[in-house]
């Protein structure tokens, strides 16, 4: 009963995402036609529409729902129910928990209406600037993430008619990406992720509070330690696809290896790179288990002096970072918006023949958003699985393990690429690595709960029974 309800909910969610993405396409196409008619530059309208729909609607909605999801999902992982007490006082909804979503509305109202407090000795301008930096830089990263493929505007329903009535050429490309064809691509992500730490450091310094300063310092040193590994872990992918643009990498991953049996996904070619990038991004996001800059039980955090929506910006920027990481990882390593089927099966060609270009684009976009949601879930699952790292362990993991491993990964990838430019050797090595990790996980005997043995009496360990 409950399983059927949840499954129906998930299917409904997919349909909702598809409908929303179709609307996004139509909005982008229509605005493109309008700007094309006004000053002959349709890409301006497409970019403006995508900025609003993708950044302000898609990313913001997913990020703010993640605030509820974090509590609800962590509850499910810990055998609890989670927040369900906030109710909407509307007729018919009074007794409905609505999956805890009213909690997020209540949180928003609380954040916005709380006192906006500035400590007397805080450095006013920087104190105000810090949350903006944290929020804006996390936000802008999504500009280079391709959500759905390029479609000619004439293929989009309603838009072609509009173009004809306004007398505009309807063959300009429309894709759900804010900045398509932007050459720096991945470097743009590194650059703005690097600026994000200014938010943390400035918040710590401008608050004029020792605990906040400590948090800011920890944030900056963590950033320095992981930024290099972060960049190095993607060099392999850059060499493989010979580009920095995410949409080109996405298209490159649609290629079939071994006669189309295996899609050339980044995770198959660069499993070590995937693990390194995921880990380093976690540390960059300051998400647990790398949450040394904030520690409720010790230094509170770099945002200790912030209240109301200023704190809310720090919090939401963390969740936006989660969404962006999900988007980037799925674009780089999980085939982007391409369906998880071997190219030899021809699923996408069949869909194109059945649904047309626009239908295929919507399906692929839905696929991408679902991948992002699953990756967000994975990040939260890791956060609720792992204990927190000690600060010196964070540093030694970054400098002594991730960085050498990333360098070794670059060297090995380069050699394999030189030996076999068709990527098949790389895929064999990558699959062997995956097989090694999976086999080790499955086969190594579980460590049994240990009992501490003392002479003369027995203390049972593990089960809690004596």
């Amino acid at each position: 009963m409950r399983a059927a309800f949840i499954s129906a909910l998930i299917v409904g969610l997919c349909a909702l995402i598809a409908a929303v993405l179709a609307l996004f396409y139509i909005a982008a196409g229509a605005l493109g036609v309008v700007t094309g008619a006004l000053f002959d530059k349709p890409y301006v309208g497409v970019a403006v529409a995508n900025t609003i729909t993708l950044l302000l609607v898609l990313v913001m909605v997913i990020a703010s729902l993640l605030t509820v999801a974090e509590r609800k999902w962590s509850a499910l992982m810990q055998d609890r129910i989670g927040p369900n007490r906030a109710r909407l006082g509307l007729p018919g909804l009074r007794d409905k928990a609505l999956l805890g979503i009213p909690h997020f509305l209540a949180d928003g109202i609380k954040m916005l209406t709380k006192e906006d407090f500035v400590p007397a000795h805080a450095s006013g301008f920087l104190y105000t600037l810090a949350p903006m930096l944290a929020f804006g830089t996390a936000f802008v990263l999504f500009a280079v993430v391709p959500v759905a493929p390029t479609v000619p505007a004439s293929e989009i329903p309603l838009v072609s008619g509009l173009a004809a009535s306004l007398g505009v050429d309807g063959f300009f490309p429309v894709s759900l990406q804010v900045a398509p064809g932007y050459d720096p691509g991945v470097l743009f992500i590194f650059a703005f992720a690097g600026i994000a730490v200014f938010g943390t450091a400035l918040a710590g310094w401008a608050s004029n509070n020792r605990l906040a300063l400590l948090g800011g310092l920890r944030g900056s040193s963590q950033m320095v330690a992981y930024e290099i590994a972060l960049g190095m872990s993607l060099v392999g992918l850059m060499m493989i696809f010979q580009t920095l643009q995410l949409e080109v990498m996405t298209e490159g991953q649609n290629r079939g290896l071994f006669g189309g049996i295996l899609p050339a996904w980044g995770i198959f070619l660069q499993p070590i790179g995937f693990i390194l990038y995921f880990t380093a991004s976690f540390a960059e996001l300051k998400r647990p288990p790398f949450d040394a800059p904030e520690g409720e039980s010790e230094i509170v955090g770099y945002f200790v002096e912030y209240s109301g929506m200023r704190f809310g910006l720090f919090m939401i920027s963390e969740f936006i970072g989660t969404v962006v990481l999900g988007g980037v990882v799925s674009a780089l390593f999980l085939g982007g918006y391409h369906l998880p089927f071997p190219p030899a099966w021809g699923v996408e060609e069949w869909l194109r023949a059945t649904l047309g270009d626009f239908g295929l684009a919507v399906v692929l976009g839905t696929n991408f958003v679902l991948k992002v949601i699953v990756l967000c879930w994975l990040q939260l699952a890791i956060r609720w699985t792992m204990p927190r790292f000690r600060f010196d362990k964070i540093q030694s993991l970054g400098w002594k393990i991730l960085l050498p491993a990333a360098l070794a990964n670059i060297a090995v990838t380069a050699v394999l690429l030189l030996a076999d430019p068709s990527l098949e050797l790389l895929a064999i090595v990558g699959l062997a690595e995956i097989l090694f990790i999976v086999g080790l996980t499955a086969l190594y005997p579980k460590k049994q709960p240990t009992s501490l043995v003392l002479p003369g009496r027995m203390m049972a360990g593990g089960t809690g029974h004596h």
Partner: protein, 245 residues
């Protein structure tokens, strides 16, 4: 004791990570598998809303043991000492004969009684005022034990509800006289040759256990569930090994 050395080594070994654990990634994946299993079970599995939450059916899949308190209330165990009630007779008058036994034995001195007299009743005395201050009450149940007439009971299975004023916790006789009526064959107003013991609807075990020779069926042992694992059974060898003898 030859085992001291072995014990030390065991403790050191438990503190150290094996090479496999140092690889970290497989252990993270294993941890994720545990988290994911719980997540999926609790997401898709039906929840047994039985208020007896410790013995919920885990077979539906859901492992959540949360009690949604105001809507789901855990049943109190049999014999729970709830708030008092003055037991009524069949005719609605209190069984109490205002003997002051309960007020005398009460260690918290929370019972206050004033006695009146019936003109036409085999029981002459009755309480005109019977007050229990629930804030003073220590819920020891001595009043129930002391009562010679089975006139005060704590079988309401309710705890004292909250009040806005202190005065609200001082329960007058109107508030105490409630629940099902109770009669005993020995009651003077019922003493007839053919009188049988009437059934106590509210507490069916009462009469059976105290006044009958019929055996009472014991409560069934609870099943072993996700929240009540079976206690571990140690073999003799394991005990010997663990105790180092």
């Amino acid at each position: 004791m030859a085992s001291t050395k072995e014990i030390k080594r065991t403790a050191e070994e438990t503190a150290q990570l094996s090479w496999y654990q140092r690889l970290f990634v497989p252990e993270v994946i294993r941890g994720l598998a545990v988290t994911t299993r719980h997540f999926l079970r609790n997401l898709f599995g039906g929840r047994d809303p039985s208020p007896d939450f410790a013995y919920r059916k885990g077979s539906l899949g859901n492992q959540v043991a949360t009690l949604q308190y105001p809507e789901e209330r855990a049943p109190y165990p049999v014999g729970y000492r709830g708030t008092h009630r003055l037991v009524p007779r069949e005719d609605g008058k209190p069984r109490c004969v205002a003997c002051y036994m309960c007020a005398t034995i009460c260690p918290a001195q929370c019972i206050y009684i004033e006695a009146g007299e019936y003109e036409d009743d085999p029981i002459e005395k009755y309480p005109t005022v019977f007050v229990i201050d629930q804030l003073r009450c220590v819920v020891c149940g001595l009043c129930v034990e002391a009562c010679p007439k089975d006139a005060i009971r704590m079988d309401t299975y309710q705890h004292t509800p909250p009040e806005y004023t202190r005065e609200g916790f001082v329960y007058p006789i109107e508030r105490l006289l409630k629940g099902p009526a109770v009669s005993h064959p020995s009651d003077p107003w019922l003493r007839r040759k053919d009188s049988a013991q009437p059934e106590d609807q509210h507490f069916p075990l009462h009469g059976v256990a105290e006044h009958s020779t019929e055996p009472v069926e014991p409560r069934e042992p609870y099943p072993v569930g996700p929240n009540h694992p079976a206690p571990p059974v140690f073999t003799e060898e394991e005990v010997r090994k663990a105790s180092g003898s």
